[in-house]
């Protein structure tokens, strides 16, 4: 469904990605692991069109997308839940969700999708009229995911959904991620917590200083000595 071929990217003169190749098959959850600064977030930014790569190519469903503007990529079916949630803090929860569907043409189907998001995250329904900035961290994460779902993505890019959240909230969010996946949305997950990521993902890539250094089925990586020592901590 998604394929990166030798993608390089840079922030000014700082090289962030050096020839990253990876693949996300339709229907799967794929995890992207690595330390801080390894290039995980940059990879997602390149896919969603926030950052133009300096080399290589990105294909989504066979179509090359690395030259497209971000809004065109959303319209093709790729939604990015960014690091730090990035909800519209001054807008209400309801307005945030409506904007999630901005790129869509089938306006009449929006109420049904709103119901679906409220079904996944009932707390958002209660907070519908509240400014998003007044939500707790976990609720903001739910809103960020819900907003992304309003675009009806076939591929969901999640950047550190567990960051700064209490363990119970994290469990709830990951349960929902699994459910979203089982309902047909492919997921590419960036996660610091490798333990957690390898539990939900089927396949994983490990990034180090902008390169893929290791990849394999999640079950295999869990057994891998180097992964255990560097990322799992046992």
């Amino acid at each position: 469904m998604l394929r990166l071929e030798g993608v390089s990217a840079a922030y000014g003169r700082i090289q962030a990605l050096r020839g990253v190749s990876l693949e996300v098959p339709a229907g799967s959850i794929v995890a992207l692991l690595g330390a801080n600064g390894a290039g995980k977030t940059t990879t997602l930014r390149v896919i969603s069109g926030l950052l133009r790569p300096t080399g290589g190519a990105v294909y989504f469903e066979g179509r090359r997308i690395d030259r497209l503007p971000a809004e065109a990529i959303v319209r093709l079916g790729v939604s990015h839940v960014p690091e730090g949630r990035q909800v519209f803090a001054e807008l209400t929860v309801g307005e945030n969700l409506i904007l999630g569907a901005y790129a869509r043409r089938d306006r009449q189907k929006i109420p049904a999708d709103l119901d679906r998001v409220f079904g996944l995250f009932p707390v958002l329904r209660e907070r519908r009229k509240q400014p998003a900035g007044t939500l707790s961290g976990g609720e903001q994460q739910m809103l960020a995911i819900g907003r992304a779902l309003m675009a009806r993505p076939r591929l969901l890019l999640l950047d550190e959904p567990s960051l700064g959240l209490a363990p119970m909230v994290v469990r709830e969010i990951f349960r929902t991620i699994r459910r979203i996946n089982s309902e047909g949305t492919t997921v590419l997950l960036v996660e610091q917590d490798a333990n957690l990521a390898l539990q939900v993902a089927r396949f994983a890539y490990v990034l180090q200083t902008g390169q893929v250094v290791l990849s394999g089925p999640a079950a295999e990586l869990r057994q891998n000595e180097a992964v255990r020592r560097s990322y799992l901590g046992y």
């Binding site: 969603s48 069109g49 926030l50 503007p69 971000a70 809004e71 959303v74 319209r75 939604s79 990015h80 960014p82 990035q86 909800v87 519209f88 803090a89 001054e90 807008l91 307005e95 409506i98 904007l99 999630g100 901005y102 790129a103 907003r147 992304a148 309003m150 675009a151």
Partner: protein
Amino acid sequence: MTEGQLLSLAQQVVSGLSAGSIYALLALALVLIYQSTDVVNFAQGELAMFTTFIAFTLLTWYGVPFVPAVALTLVFAFVLGYLIERIVIRPVEDAPVLSVVIVTLGLYSIFNSVAGWVWGYVPKGFPSPISGGTIRFAGLTVGLLDLWILGCALVIMVLLHLFLHRTTLGIAMRATAHNRTAARLVGIPVGRMLSLGWGLSAVLGAIAGMLAAPKIFLEPNMMAAVLLYAFAGAVLGGLTSPFGAIAGGLMVGVVENLLGALVATELKAGLAFFMILAVLVVRPQGLFGTAYRRKV
């Protein structure tokens, strides 16, 4: 204080509200642009003046009836604002603040001199559907023109509020002003929203100009003082709050009128600067604004 004095004070307040509603419209235009692009548009007043001259030309040179002339002017203002953002402002978007200030000052000067060249500096009357009569209400004698200005301004403000809060396009414009990255991620064409914001601001300015012109006469420098008061209103209300811009503009109008009536007309000119300074010293974020934070 006698009843007569009280009444004359009340009348000053009403005519202050009328002037203030024009400041409020222009302050609103300034805030819309400042919120979304972090640009303080010094050319806002000249844009208003220029578009008002367009209306004047349609009305008096070409004999277009009032309503279509106003409608055409608003379309012209929208396109002008839209194109200015796209052509002049976008290239300097990431330039230092001072460069952007110079650019808007340049626009100020260009519109001012072009207007002088085309229409000359002799003040002209501007027709208004409401003439200079008065109406007596609760013992007050109120100018019909003042009521007309205030009423129009209020209607425009309500329409703007509905647009920004009830339509998807309006909500998307607010979202873009607050968080550009997130706006791009949900598929909002950010560049187009910024152009739309400038177009909308130019429309507000044109309305302010056309409402003000019957009172202060039409000439290339007519908006200089108005812009100053609008700045005072915007700063007073907090540059980040549309509601604050309205409240601030109205307050400036009332204070200006009362000061002129009760103390000395000569002091009016210094008032705007005094208010700007006082606000910046005491409460930099304005009465209704949120503390300034840099957008990344």
